[in-house]
Amino acid sequence: MPRLKAQFDRLSHLFLPLSVLVILLIINLIKGADYFKITMVNGVFYGNIPNILFGASELVILSVGMTLVTAAARGQDISIGESGAISSAIFVQYVLQAGEVTIWTILAGFLISCVAGLVIGAFNGTLVSFFNVQPMVATLILFLGGRSIAFIIDGKVSPILANPISNQIGTVIPGVPIQTPIILTAVFLALVAVVLKTTNLRLYVEAVGINPSAARLNGINPKKVIFLTFLLMGVCSAIAGFIAVNKAGRHDSVNLLKFIMMDAILAVALGENSLGGGKFSITGSIIGAYTIEVLNRTLLRLEVNPEAIKAFKAVFIIILMVIASPVVRVSARKFLDKAKTFVAGYSVRQTGGLNKAVVSITDSSVKKEE
């Protein structure tokens, strides 16, 4: 039993994002009972749940990278959409100039775009780790200039990616019942899980995020760790750009992954991660990212006036953050404790055992101190 409790405590940070997700799903169920219905069209699963998994794939990948950057650098990268646009522009150019498109061309293009993502990450990471610039200011540079770079790489307005393989990557591969972006996301998440399990990455990142000077005194170079997280962020944004451009079928340098950094940061915060660095939970961020996608789709499904969607989203976020805020939690716990003592005292007074009441009050106060 205590072991179970410990396990539960370890997962308690997932309580908020999960409960929000469940509430949203219940709202959807009330709206229409066929919410979880999955239909098979041409051998592929479609329905609300697959659509959510499909739509949130880029956001999930980006929020994983954002979690690492936030934890180590104690700040946010606001250029992720732009870096995704640049690296996917390079991918599109490579594929278009290759002539005949085979799976190997796509793979080579993908690797080249990952290298581009690494370069972008190195640019941001150098500024943050070696020049000690705040992350948000350092990534502001690419945020301002990134889309123009992508446009210049494109050379013309939105080149079209019309080949069967990238079409399959964006939608479905014949014979596979699940849309390809979902599979890619799952593979990516599995890789991340393996890396976090087998390497010291989590330990190092958390140590640097909690206290960089203490980490340095313990033999961890904080600059290297922060630089590494930005490199990983670059790769994440390259993968997200790859999926986004294959989904869209054309490279629109202005609108590709536009303002996705807001959603990614929100996902990190929803997952109960501190935006000030330190301990992090990738699972929380992933659930947060899916929650945002569900929220967007729920608002659409409830037929909210499209102009007012943003306002509703804002109100939802504010309510959520108020519930999650430490001050409200502490006062709620105090209130609950008081109520418990009052109830206990009342019942004891009814039975006439005053001594027992004293014991129960002291008991509860001891518990509070624990």
Partner: protein, 379 residues
């Protein structure tokens, strides 16, 4: 710059002052380059005044953002609030129910409402400022689109008269090719900018709130130890920022004369960039408020310079990004060099010949005097 006074050689220049001086030098440098490369247009005083005339709202937004940044926070809702205020005022004026004062108080009210909301949630409920102001931005954008979607021109005569109103400076101006003297013109928005800059500079420099804010932004924990009401200070800073955003919306409407969905878009990013150029760090606790207008001027000069150079529109963004990169790296290098010097100063005095010679002796009489004073008071 009192700290540069040669009679007090040992007072170290504060980081704020140093960064402010760097910002000033960079601005002068950029304006000098502009003057050298495009003498015809930049030598006219009107070009300089047009920076203020056309971007008065940006200046005001930057001021509000500066206060929040000194307090160690961030407010990314300012641009959206500015846009919301322009549209709300335009709708009010066009509906014929409100006059200019009504619109002005509506602007203040909207700004104050957003400021109070942000301030309460961030200061008293301890929620991360980025998320709350992001929600505020979404809220303002959503309200803006529900209020009115199409661009709305304000045609109320009183407002148009106020908009057209210009102050001419008779002794400053240029002579055009026909030999006619054209005096320089200043729009009413510029007066608001100047008044706010003076007001806020005084507030940050000499009021209790301003000093508390620097302390809170520098180190929240030690500010609390000093007995500063940290929560109240942060709360007030967000309220001020919201109010400023409201005023900037009204000034924006005065400049363009129309409510539009795109009003104030990306102002938050521009304001952050301008503040960084003006030497105000996002970490908080460092920065001179006068750096905000100087940084904005630098940003505008760069944009104008790039536009005058006829660079392709796509390269403009890249060039301004590169310039921002240069400034940031320059600032960081100067700060790190300074830190290294600080490290050397921390050596014991007998290792430093110039300090061992005069440093300690000089300080002693002052301390003795202070001690005597205290002893007298005790008696």
């Amino acid at each position: 710059m009192g700290t540069l006074n040669p009679t007090k050689p040992r007072t170290r220049m504060s980081n704020s002052t140093l960064l402010f001086i760097i910002a000033g030098i960079i601005f002068l440098l950029m304006y000098g380059i502009a003057l050298l490369s495009f003498p015809v247009s930049f030598r006219q005083f009107q070009t300089f005044f047009d920076f203020f005339n056309l971007n008065a709202a940006l200046f005001i937004v930057t001021l509000g953002m500066c206060i929040v940044m000194i307090g160690g926070g961030i407010d990314i809702s300012v641009g959206a609030v500015c846009g919301l205020v322009t549209m709300a005022c335009a709708v009010l004026l066009q509906s014929g129910t409100g006059n200019i004062w009504g619109a002005f108080f509506l602007a203040l009210g909207i700004g104050l409402a957003f400021g109070l909301m942000h301030g309460y949630l961030i200061a008293y409920l301890e929620i991360q400022p980025f998320i709350i102001t992001l929600a505020g931005m979404f809220l303002a954008q959503g309200l803006l689109t529900t209020l009115h979607k199409e661009p709305l021109n304000v045609t109320v005569p009183a407002f148009v008269a106020l908009r057209r109103f210009t102050i001419e400076i008779p002794w400053l101006g240029t002579v055009n090719r026909l030999g006619v003297f054209i005096p320089c013109e200043i729009k009413p928005g510029v007066i608001v900018v100047v008044v706010l800059v003076v007001l806020y500079a005084v507030l940050m420099k000499w009021s209790r709130f301003g000093r508390n804010l620097y302390a809170v932004g520098g180190n929240r924990q030690s500010a609390r130890m000093l007995g500063i009401n940290v929560k109240k200070t942060i709360f007030l800073s967000y309220v001020l920022c919201g109010l400023t955003a409201g005023i900037s919306g009204f000034v924006f409407l005065l400049t363009t004369g129309a409510g539009n969905i795109g009003n104030g878009a990306l102002y938050e990013i521009k304001a952050i960039a301008a503040n960084v150029m003006g030497g105000i760090l996002l970490n908080g606790g460092v920065g001179n408020l006068l750096g905000a207008p100087i940084g904005t001027l630098t940003l505008l000069t760069i944009n104008e310079l790039i536009r005058a150079a006829g660079v392709q529109s796509n390269l403009q963004a890249i060039v301004s990004g590169l310039l921002l990169y240069l400034f940031i790296v320059l600032q960081s290098i100067i700060m790190s060099l300074r830190d290294r010097r600080k490290f050397r100063l921390a050596l014991p005095p007998w290792l430093k010949p110039h300090l061992a010679a005069g440093g300690e002796r000089d300080r002693e009489p002052r301390i003795r005097k202070a001690g005597e004073k205290i002893r007298k008071q005790v008696k």
